[in-house]
Structure formats: structure tokens, C-alpha cells
């Protein structure tokens, strides 16, 4: 399985863009959270964009990742966005109530 690398985390105009891996589960979640938090501390980040273009599988671990990052940036007025969200991910967002805190962008 393709692993996520530092290159998948980019800061553009105070926006952290995370290219999510093919499979988002508990195994891959730790690394994503660690690397994302490193970027949040090091760089001036206001908003976070989760890009699901590669993602073929996600379980509730993905919800934890997004909720956790939202908690960290929302106190500074930051927002979380998601792009390239397929039907299954959309369902998971709805089911968990995450669609209330994450804005899904067309692309």
C-alpha cells in the first residue's frame, strides 16, 4: 500500500493541503495526524484542505483525523474543507455529522 509522505502536505497561502492516502484507517491515521500537526506548528496555517483524490477506502479513523485538526484550528478562526469526495466518503461525513464542520468543495 502506498504510504503518505511529507510531499503530501503542502502549505499554500496559509492553507494546509493534505493529499490523503489510498486507504485511511487506524494504521495510516497516526502518521497523517503527526505530520499535519507538525505543519500546523511550524507554518502559519489558517485553513486545512483534505484532498481525497487518491482515497479508495476510509473508516471512522478518517473522522477522527478531521475532527482533531478542526479542533486545533477552529479556535483561531480556521476552517476545514474537503475536495474530491466520493459517494462513500460523503455518506460517512453525513453519518458522523461531520458535514456540519467540514465544507465539501467541488474541487
Amino acid at each position: 500500500m502506498e504510504q503518505i509522505t511529507a510531499e503530501d502536505f503542502q502549505v499554500v497561502d496559509s492553507c494546509l493541503i493534505i493529499r490523503m492516502p489510498e486507504e485511511i484507517d487506524h494504521h495510516s491515521a497516526g502518521m497523517i495526524c503527526q505530520e499535519a500537526d507538525r505543519c500546523l506548528v511550524r507554518e502559519e496555517v489558517r485553513n486545512v484542505v483534505f484532498d481525497f483524490v487518491r482515497t479508495r477506502f476510509m473508516d471512522s479513523s478518517g473522522i477522527g483525523i478531521i475532527m482533531g485538526r478542526h479542533r486545533k484550528i477552529s479556535c483561531f478562526g480556521g476552517r476545514v474543507y474537503a475536495v474530491h469526495v466520493d459517494r462513500q466518503i460523503q455518506r460517512i461525513f453525513r453519518l458522523s455529522g461531520l458535514n456540519k464542520i467540514v465544507e465539501v468543495l467541488e474541487s
Binding site: D25, H26, A29, F57, S60, I63, Q88, L95
Partner: protein, 161 residues
Amino acid sequence: MKNEMELIFDAVSDNESFARVAVAAFLTHLNPTLEEMADIKTAVSEAVTNSIIHGYGNLEGLEPGGEGCPVNPGKVRVCCSLEDGMLHILVEDKGKGIEDVERAMEPLFTTRPELERSGMGFAFMEAFTDELQVESAPGQGTVVRMSKKIGAEDQDAGSGI
């Protein structure tokens, strides 16, 4: 037609994808829809992850024999049976068990908030299958049973074969 399979594997997070992919492969000949397949994989992933982190307390990012991995991580057992288009999945661990099953099944409830997980594991298992049963007691491990009708969506159009 009846078909059964059983998997026993080390309770390490690297095996989460193995477990869900194996279950998905087991039911491919029933021609499940993409959605049914995704539902099953998510439900299995939730149950297996619970066994690994809550049952045995094994954190993420561990690979068998890798750094930080316990010598005896414990085992997770996954059994599947298919009968008349119905998939039954059992996920069992011999870990520490759950004190209050009803409470554990509440959405957003978690005993380990420091892990930054969503507390949605059981809610997802419930939402993505037709039936969910959890048996557990402290020190006795946990058994999760899930059932889902495969091919239910085009049941009326099917020829019954």
C-alpha cells in the same frame, strides 16, 4: 449454498487492511454492489480496529515484529459465513473486554480520547450492516457479530439463482 472461512491474525494495525480485504474477497462471487462492498469493508475495519486498540491496547503504526510491537500482540479471529445471500461476520478477541457494552455503543463515546479517534466505531458497524450484536465482559474478550444481506438492492430483479 453455504460457504465459510476463518482467519486468525496478530492484533497489529498493519493487519487491519488485510482483514477487510480478505472478507471483501470472500464475498466477491455474490456480485455485491460497490456500496455493499464498501459497507462491509468499513464495518470489518471498525470491529478489527476496536479489538486491536481497545481489546489489546496496541497502538497504531505497528508492523509485525517491528519497533514497539509487543512480542505477543494477541490474536484477532474473523469468521465469515455465507448462506442464501446473507453474510455473517464474527470478530473475536481475547483482550480486556468491555465493562459497559451499551455505553460503548453510544456514538462519540470513547474510553481513550487521547487517541483522537471519533468514537463512531460501533455506530458505523450498526449503520453499514443489517444486524449487530456485541458480547463482552471485563477480562473475557469481545465477540462482535454482524450480518448483512448481499444483493438486497436488486433482489426483485434477480432470477433467484
